[in-house]
Symmetry: C2
Subunit: 166 residues, 2 copies
DNA sequence: TGCATCTTTTAGAACATTCTAAATATATTA
DNA sequence: TAATATATTTAGAATGTTCTAAAAGATGCA
């Protein structure tokens, strides 16, 4: 391949690798995706191993991670025994789905737990007898309410984002 | 303190700790913030060390991380030699600022680099002589353009979010 | 100044993640 | 089915992160 094109490919893969890391995503995951995203045609595991200079095991594990995210798809090529992969080019959709299925779900779990804590607190109000305790309970109620408000806003935001790609 | 209130405090701290971890934030950072967020008054490092059962060094490092984020503030209490801290209760503002100063900035760095790569590619077009190379160059141009579009959308989103808290 | 109190830094232990190479499992073709 | 090609799993090495305890560095007060 033209050496200029090779340089561009390498720069892109490197950049996306760094971006992945700053998003706390495994670098190889990002680089595999970048490689496929740029590639004119589908690539085999061996192709990727060659380009990125990684072990096949590493490539195998991380390409399946990308499959789970719907970021890449297996492609069968007639006359070939190897699996080939191509990138889903709709990056925005991938990102938003990752948000919804990963981050947001885990956030929801946390905010649900906080909502439960809040309930516990409300039900317990009769237990707080002296002024001091009543005061603290009131403050706790205020603070937990703030968290609830935020989680509602977040849920709305996710809905808006989801709407953007459907 | 009333044991029911203590349970609620502990549950909250635990939940926020887990949430932090799922956001790839150090658990202690989240727990320190949770502790101060709930606390009726400011707390000293020693208070936090006692509650969370961590070393003072650990508390010191991570409380300064929170200061950097504007998530907590030092408070001087007359007659006290210790530093005290209180939480900034505006969680949304903190989160959005963290986005802007951390994530988004690093993303911007990456997308800037990709924009540069894109320019290089455009300038190099005369170098691609045969049909094959021209074809690949065209595909690369398309792919890089997609990335550019996404980074523009992201920038807009950040502006909208920023508007929400100012 | 010198002592007491508090905070930060540091060195390395404990723990967690990521990677490779080799072994194992699966699929394809003759 | 045997032989070969390919993919996945596994064990442990390499690397990276987080934690503590102790040392060093501040700060304030007699």
């Amino acid at each position: 391949m033209n050496s200029k094109l090779k340089v561009i490919e390498e720069e892109f893969i490197e950049t996306i690798g760094q971006l992945s890391e700053s998003l706390s995503i495994n670098r190889i995951v990002g680089q595999l995706y970048a490689l496929l995203f740029l590639s004119p045609g589908p690539l085999s595991l061996d192709d990727m191993v060659d380009k990125l200079k990684i072990s096949k095991g590493n490539a195998s594990v991380n390409i399946r991670e990308l499959e789970r995210w719907n970021a890449v798809k297996k492609v069968w090529i007639k006359g070939e025994r190897k699996n080939f992969y191509r990138a889903n080019l709709d990056v925005l959709k991938i990102v938003i789905n990752c948000f919804k299925n990963g981050l947001i779900q885990r956030m929801k779990k946390s905010t649900d737990k906080i909502a439960k804590t809040q309930e516990t607190l409300n039900k317990s109000s009769s237990l707080f007898i002296n002024k001091e305790e009543k005061n603290i309970a009131e403050i706790y109620q205020d603070r937990l309410k703030r968290i609830k408000e935020i989680s509602e806003k977040t849920e709305n935001l996710v809905k808006v984002l989801s709407g953007l790609v459907e």
